[in-house]
Amino acid sequence: MSDKSFQPKILAFLCKWCSYAAADLAGVNRLSYPPNITAIKIPCTGKMNPEYIIQAFRQGADGVWISGCHPGTCHYTSGNLIARRRFAVFKNLLEYIGIEPQRVRLSWVGSSEAHRFQEIAQDIVDSITEIGPARKMVKNIIPQSYQGVRKI
């Protein structure tokens, strides 16, 4: 499903101590990355709640990207290491029920790695454009079965 006109919406939950700064640095260095990414600042990847991911898909996001500090460099010592365990389990669960693995990404990007941020952002947008829009978890205000009836 490679529709050229499809522009994915991707939510990026970025740790304020590293990946958010990397995104900032990429801007300062005039490194362009796709505009499909909406950055949301979180205090640490340990704050990242699986509810947020589900909520993003419910509201029509095509992908979720969570990015934090490299292991050993967390501002709060171990937030990213706990997030790593949590996401290993949660990502496997989402794959198990049939959500494509490309849609949820976790990465480690340090605050000086603007180039790495740009590369990963590009890679995520490319891979999600390839698999197409996410329709599996979207909350329909009007159920599909009634939609035909409403059109008069």
Binding site: P50, E51, I54, Q55, R58, P71, G72, S78, L81, I82, R84, R85, R86, F87, A88, V89, F90, K91, N92, L93, L94, E95, Y96, I97, G98, I99, E100, P101, R105, L106, S107, W108, I120, K136, M137, V138, K139, N140, P143
Partner: protein, 317 residues
Amino acid sequence: MTNHISTQIRQIARELLESKTVKCVIGYKKGTIPMREQICFARSPEQADELIWSGFCVLNQSKFLIGVEEPTAIVAQGCVTRNIIGLIRENRVKRENVHILGINSPGMLDHRKIAAKFPGREIKELWEHEDKIIASGKGFKETFPRKLFKRDNCYTCTHRNPVIYDQMIGEAGPETGGGNIDNTASPWEKKDYDQRWKIFTETFKDCIRCYACRDACPLCYCRECFVDSARPQWCGKTVEEADVHTFHILRAFHCAGRCTDCGACESACPVGIKMRRLTSKIEKDIRKMYGYSPGLKLDARLPLTEFSLNDPEGFIG
């Protein structure tokens, strides 16, 4: 066999209540209809005579220990003792308040499987005799083997004998149910993503959002559940697909690293949804990645509250 154990439970409960060692004995009593045993709280020696032990003691009574302030005895089979350990570990229950009456579980029966054997006919009475079940109703009386009608999780049980106990009722029996617990999740794992989603949707399509699975689960003790929270509202109140899926995915994930596969959720479900498909996958992953099985040690740390520098991270990048 089961009657013999019922007598023993009653006798022990009576002794405990008469000597005022405990204030209450939590066990099972006969339900108002066959095959649906209820949880019983015996607070006086007379009430102790209501206690029974049968193949339909499927609910997990460890939930009722939460917040108990006075000495309480509880009839507990393998999975229930594992949940009690979990609750003690999570500081919901004080060990000194609990008097565990350990009992070997012979594998509990699924009332749906038995009812499906008699379509259009109502079972009025049912007895268990060793390895046989005798069901009778209007114009029929049939005997069939017990082992074909167990609950799914009882086939793959790994701890039938109590893990901790203060007093043992009856003898210890075989430890496992014989099945491989890792296989519960494998039928879905072989399929591709779209097929998995289809089968997932199919599994949960009947859900009426009654939250019986949550209410039966001894792990779900939050004061405010995420489904009841209005601000932020994580999950809508409708039975629309997205809401049902949100509820079941997150409910399963909140039990990650804690679920003992007791099967109370599936037994409590009024429409027969197999939500163990999700929890058993999570527990399988945790066993494989972090080598942890819940509810076996009083001093174990929960896997998702801990970390190791060498945790697998092949999915990152």
